[in-house]
Amino acid sequence: MLIDLLVSALVLLGAAFALIGSIGIARLPDFFTRLHGPTKATTLGIGAMLAASSLHFSVQGEGLALHELLVIVFLFMTAPVSANLLAKAALHLRVRSIAAIPRAFRASASDRSQ
Protein backbone atom coordinates (compact mmCIF):
# COMPACT_ATOMS: atom_id res chain seq x y z
CA MET A 1 0.00 0.00 0.00
CA LEU A 2 2.68 2.45 1.07
CA ILE A 3 4.83 1.26 -1.83
CA ASP A 4 1.94 1.83 -4.24
CA LEU A 5 1.57 5.37 -2.98
CA LEU A 6 5.27 6.00 -3.38
CA VAL A 7 5.26 4.51 -6.89
CA SER A 8 2.28 6.67 -7.88
CA ALA A 9 3.92 9.79 -6.48
CA LEU A 10 7.12 9.10 -8.40
CA VAL A 11 5.25 8.41 -11.65
CA LEU A 12 3.29 11.66 -11.30
CA LEU A 13 6.41 13.63 -10.46
CA GLY A 14 8.21 12.16 -13.44
CA ALA A 15 5.32 12.87 -15.78
CA ALA A 16 5.07 16.44 -14.47
CA PHE A 17 8.73 17.16 -15.14
CA ALA A 18 8.61 15.56 -18.59
CA LEU A 19 5.59 17.76 -19.37
CA ILE A 20 7.36 20.87 -18.09
CA GLY A 21 10.34 20.02 -20.26
CA SER A 22 8.08 19.85 -23.30
CA ILE A 23 6.33 23.11 -22.40
CA GLY A 24 9.80 24.63 -22.14
CA ILE A 25 10.65 23.54 -25.67
CA ALA A 26 7.46 25.18 -26.93
CA ARG A 27 7.70 28.37 -24.86
CA LEU A 28 11.36 29.35 -24.67
CA PRO A 29 12.37 31.99 -27.22
CA ASP A 30 15.34 30.64 -29.18
CA PHE A 31 17.20 27.45 -30.05
CA PHE A 32 19.84 27.70 -27.33
CA THR A 33 17.36 28.29 -24.52
CA ARG A 34 15.25 25.38 -25.78
CA LEU A 35 18.28 23.13 -25.41
CA HIS A 36 17.93 23.45 -21.64
CA GLY A 37 14.66 21.52 -21.63
CA PRO A 38 15.85 18.09 -22.74
CA THR A 39 19.03 18.11 -20.64
CA LYS A 40 17.31 18.96 -17.38
CA ALA A 41 13.58 18.68 -16.91
CA THR A 42 13.47 15.46 -18.88
CA THR A 43 16.40 13.81 -17.07
CA LEU A 44 14.65 14.20 -13.72
CA GLY A 45 11.31 13.28 -15.28
CA ILE A 46 12.66 10.04 -16.69
CA GLY A 47 14.74 9.47 -13.56
CA ALA A 48 11.66 9.62 -11.33
CA MET A 49 9.67 7.32 -13.63
CA LEU A 50 12.49 4.78 -13.73
CA ALA A 51 12.79 4.91 -9.94
CA ALA A 52 9.06 4.16 -9.78
CA SER A 53 9.46 1.26 -12.20
CA SER A 54 12.41 -0.17 -10.27
CA LEU A 55 10.49 0.08 -6.99
CA HIS A 56 7.34 -1.45 -8.43
CA PHE A 57 9.01 -4.49 -9.96
CA SER A 58 11.36 -5.00 -7.01
CA VAL A 59 8.43 -5.64 -4.64
CA GLN A 60 6.74 -8.06 -7.07
CA GLY A 61 8.90 -10.83 -5.63
CA GLU A 62 11.08 -11.53 -8.64
CA GLY A 63 14.19 -10.02 -7.14
CA LEU A 64 15.58 -6.54 -7.44
CA ALA A 65 14.82 -4.76 -10.69
CA LEU A 66 18.05 -2.99 -11.57
CA HIS A 67 17.73 -2.46 -15.31
CA GLU A 68 16.44 1.00 -14.57
CA LEU A 69 19.70 1.91 -12.91
CA LEU A 70 21.46 1.23 -16.19
CA VAL A 71 18.96 3.32 -18.13
CA ILE A 72 19.57 6.25 -15.77
CA VAL A 73 23.34 5.91 -16.02
CA PHE A 74 23.27 5.80 -19.83
CA LEU A 75 20.79 8.66 -20.01
CA PHE A 76 22.94 10.88 -17.84
CA MET A 77 26.00 9.99 -19.89
CA THR A 78 24.40 10.65 -23.28
CA ALA A 79 21.99 13.57 -22.75
CA PRO A 80 24.80 16.17 -22.30
CA VAL A 81 26.65 14.80 -25.33
CA SER A 82 23.64 15.16 -27.62
CA ALA A 83 22.92 18.65 -26.25
CA ASN A 84 26.53 19.57 -26.93
CA LEU A 85 26.39 18.30 -30.51
CA LEU A 86 23.11 20.13 -31.15
CA ALA A 87 24.65 23.34 -29.84
CA LYS A 88 27.77 22.85 -31.97
CA ALA A 89 25.63 22.32 -35.06
CA ALA A 90 23.57 25.41 -34.24
CA LEU A 91 26.70 27.54 -33.84
CA HIS A 92 28.01 26.21 -37.12
CA LEU A 93 24.78 27.01 -38.95
CA ARG A 94 24.53 30.40 -37.22
CA VAL A 95 21.09 29.76 -35.82
CA ARG A 96 19.55 32.92 -34.37
CA SER A 97 20.53 33.41 -30.74
CA ILE A 98 19.24 35.94 -28.22
CA ALA A 99 22.48 35.83 -26.29
CA ALA A 100 25.52 37.33 -28.02
CA ILE A 101 27.91 34.61 -29.21
CA PRO A 102 31.57 35.26 -28.21
CA ARG A 103 33.78 35.94 -31.21
CA ALA A 104 36.02 32.89 -30.81
CA PHE A 105 33.02 30.62 -31.27
CA ARG A 106 31.28 32.34 -34.16
CA ALA A 107 31.24 30.31 -37.35
CA SER A 108 33.28 32.15 -39.96
CA ALA A 109 32.27 32.31 -43.60
CA SER A 110 35.03 29.89 -44.60
CA ASP A 111 33.93 27.35 -41.94
CA ARG A 112 30.51 27.33 -43.37
CA SER A 113 31.27 26.79 -47.03
CA GLN A 114 33.13 23.54 -46.27
Binding site: P29, T33, H36, K40, L69, I101
Partner: protein, 169 residues
Amino acid sequence: MMTWLRFPLTTLALLALWLLLVGSVGPGQVLLGALLAALITGATAGFWPRRRRPGRPWLILRYLWRLGLDILTANVRVAALVLDPRRRPRPFFVELPLALEDPFAIYLFASTVSLTPGTVSADLRRPADDGRTLLLVHALDGGDATGAAERLCRDLKQRYEQPLMEIFP
Protein backbone atom coordinates in the same frame (compact mmCIF):
# COMPACT_ATOMS: atom_id res chain seq x y z
CA MET B 1 45.35 -11.82 -26.00
CA MET B 2 45.77 -11.05 -22.32
CA THR B 3 45.33 -7.31 -22.73
CA TRP B 4 42.32 -7.33 -20.45
CA LEU B 5 44.55 -8.30 -17.53
CA ARG B 6 46.08 -4.85 -17.72
CA PHE B 7 42.65 -3.26 -17.30
CA PRO B 8 41.09 -5.18 -14.41
CA LEU B 9 38.71 -2.36 -13.43
CA THR B 10 37.34 -1.96 -16.95
CA THR B 11 36.83 -5.70 -17.21
CA LEU B 12 35.05 -5.84 -13.84
CA ALA B 13 32.87 -2.85 -14.73
CA LEU B 14 31.82 -4.47 -18.01
CA LEU B 15 31.04 -7.72 -16.20
CA ALA B 16 28.91 -5.82 -13.67
CA LEU B 17 27.16 -4.07 -16.56
CA TRP B 18 26.39 -7.41 -18.22
CA LEU B 19 25.02 -8.91 -15.01
CA LEU B 20 22.79 -5.88 -14.44
CA LEU B 21 21.61 -6.09 -18.03
CA VAL B 22 20.58 -9.75 -17.87
CA GLY B 23 19.38 -9.41 -14.27
CA SER B 24 20.85 -12.67 -13.05
CA VAL B 25 24.01 -13.86 -11.34
CA GLY B 26 23.79 -17.50 -12.42
CA PRO B 27 27.13 -19.21 -13.19
CA GLY B 28 26.37 -19.29 -16.92
CA GLN B 29 25.78 -15.55 -17.09
CA VAL B 30 28.87 -14.81 -14.99
CA LEU B 31 30.97 -16.93 -17.36
CA LEU B 32 29.47 -15.38 -20.49
CA GLY B 33 29.76 -11.88 -19.02
CA ALA B 34 33.39 -12.43 -18.03
CA LEU B 35 34.20 -13.71 -21.50
CA LEU B 36 32.52 -10.73 -23.18
CA ALA B 37 34.12 -8.27 -20.75
CA ALA B 38 37.59 -9.68 -21.44
CA LEU B 39 37.05 -9.65 -25.21
CA ILE B 40 35.63 -6.12 -25.31
CA THR B 41 38.34 -4.76 -23.01
CA GLY B 42 41.01 -6.39 -25.15
CA ALA B 43 39.51 -5.09 -28.39
CA THR B 44 39.05 -1.49 -27.20
CA ALA B 45 42.21 -1.10 -25.09
CA GLY B 46 44.03 0.50 -28.01
CA PHE B 47 41.58 3.40 -28.04
CA TRP B 48 42.37 4.49 -24.51
CA PRO B 49 45.04 7.16 -24.52
CA ARG B 50 46.58 5.90 -21.30
CA ARG B 51 45.77 3.87 -18.25
CA ARG B 52 43.96 5.72 -15.59
CA ARG B 53 42.98 4.68 -12.15
CA PRO B 54 40.41 6.66 -10.19
CA GLY B 55 42.60 8.00 -7.42
CA ARG B 56 40.22 8.77 -4.58
CA PRO B 57 36.93 6.88 -4.60
CA TRP B 58 35.43 8.91 -1.74
CA LEU B 59 35.95 12.13 -3.69
CA ILE B 60 34.13 10.59 -6.66
CA LEU B 61 31.24 9.58 -4.41
CA ARG B 62 31.06 13.07 -2.90
CA TYR B 63 31.12 14.54 -6.41
CA LEU B 64 28.26 12.28 -7.57
CA TRP B 65 26.21 13.06 -4.48
CA ARG B 66 26.62 16.80 -5.00
CA LEU B 67 25.81 16.37 -8.69
CA GLY B 68 22.60 14.47 -7.84
CA LEU B 69 21.43 17.20 -5.48
CA ASP B 70 22.27 19.91 -8.02
CA ILE B 71 20.33 18.09 -10.75
CA LEU B 72 17.28 18.14 -8.46
CA THR B 73 17.53 21.89 -7.82
CA ALA B 74 18.34 22.50 -11.50
CA ASN B 75 15.08 20.88 -12.49
CA VAL B 76 13.02 22.84 -10.01
CA ARG B 77 14.58 26.16 -11.05
CA VAL B 78 14.21 25.53 -14.77
CA ALA B 79 10.62 24.37 -14.20
CA ALA B 80 9.82 27.60 -12.30
CA LEU B 81 11.26 29.68 -15.13
CA VAL B 82 9.33 27.76 -17.78
CA LEU B 83 6.02 27.89 -15.94
CA ASP B 84 6.01 31.56 -14.91
CA PRO B 85 4.38 33.42 -17.82
CA ARG B 86 5.67 36.83 -16.71
CA ARG B 87 9.35 35.83 -16.72
CA ARG B 88 11.30 36.31 -19.93
CA PRO B 89 14.57 34.39 -19.76
CA ARG B 90 17.70 36.48 -20.33
CA PRO B 91 20.22 34.02 -21.72
CA PHE B 92 23.94 34.70 -22.12
CA PHE B 93 27.11 32.95 -23.25
CA VAL B 94 30.24 32.61 -21.13
CA GLU B 95 33.71 31.56 -22.23
CA LEU B 96 35.17 29.46 -19.46
CA PRO B 97 38.94 28.87 -19.57
CA LEU B 98 39.52 25.38 -18.20
CA ALA B 99 42.34 24.44 -15.87
CA LEU B 100 41.60 20.75 -16.50
CA GLU B 101 43.75 19.07 -19.13
CA ASP B 102 42.77 15.42 -19.07
CA PRO B 103 40.25 14.82 -21.90
CA PHE B 104 38.10 12.52 -19.76
CA ALA B 105 37.99 15.07 -16.93
CA ILE B 106 36.97 17.74 -19.44
CA TYR B 107 34.19 15.45 -20.68
CA LEU B 108 32.97 14.97 -17.10
CA PHE B 109 33.10 18.69 -16.42
CA ALA B 110 31.23 19.59 -19.62
CA SER B 111 28.57 16.97 -18.91
CA THR B 112 28.20 18.24 -15.35
CA VAL B 113 27.71 21.78 -16.62
CA SER B 114 24.99 20.54 -18.97
CA LEU B 115 23.15 18.64 -16.25
CA THR B 116 23.17 21.41 -13.61
CA PRO B 117 21.23 24.62 -12.96
CA GLY B 118 20.54 26.72 -16.03
CA THR B 119 23.70 25.93 -18.00
CA VAL B 120 24.52 23.89 -21.10
CA SER B 121 28.03 23.45 -22.43
CA ALA B 122 27.82 24.35 -26.09
CA ASP B 123 31.29 24.14 -27.59
CA LEU B 124 34.92 23.46 -26.85
CA ARG B 125 37.89 25.18 -28.43
CA ARG B 126 41.62 25.24 -27.92
CA PRO B 127 42.88 28.69 -28.83
CA ALA B 128 46.39 28.90 -30.22
CA ASP B 129 47.80 31.56 -27.91
CA ASP B 130 47.87 30.12 -24.38
CA GLY B 131 46.94 26.49 -25.05
CA ARG B 132 44.15 26.39 -22.50
CA THR B 133 40.84 24.85 -23.50
CA LEU B 134 37.89 27.22 -23.70
CA LEU B 135 34.46 25.87 -22.86
CA LEU B 136 31.52 27.83 -24.23
CA VAL B 137 28.68 27.75 -21.71
CA HIS B 138 25.15 28.88 -22.44
CA ALA B 139 23.26 30.14 -19.39
CA LEU B 140 19.50 30.19 -19.46
CA ASP B 141 18.81 33.23 -17.31
CA GLY B 142 20.34 36.09 -15.39
CA GLY B 143 22.13 37.85 -18.26
CA ASP B 144 20.72 41.22 -17.20
CA ALA B 145 22.56 41.31 -13.84
CA THR B 146 25.98 42.96 -13.80
CA GLY B 147 28.88 40.55 -13.34
CA ALA B 148 26.67 37.54 -14.01
CA ALA B 149 29.25 35.95 -16.32
CA GLU B 150 32.12 36.30 -13.84
CA ARG B 151 29.99 34.95 -11.02
CA LEU B 152 28.90 31.94 -13.07
CA CYS B 153 32.51 31.18 -14.07
CA ARG B 154 33.66 31.35 -10.46
CA ASP B 155 30.79 29.15 -9.24
CA LEU B 156 31.33 26.44 -11.86
CA LYS B 157 35.07 26.39 -11.26
CA GLN B 158 34.71 26.19 -7.51
CA ARG B 159 31.88 23.69 -7.39
CA TYR B 160 32.91 21.22 -10.08
CA GLU B 161 36.31 21.92 -11.60
CA GLN B 162 38.13 22.01 -8.26
CA PRO B 163 36.93 18.54 -7.14
CA LEU B 164 37.65 17.13 -10.63
CA MET B 165 41.21 18.47 -10.40
CA GLU B 166 41.59 16.54 -7.15
CA ILE B 167 40.14 13.35 -8.65
CA PHE B 168 42.30 13.55 -11.81
CA PRO B 169 45.55 15.07 -10.58
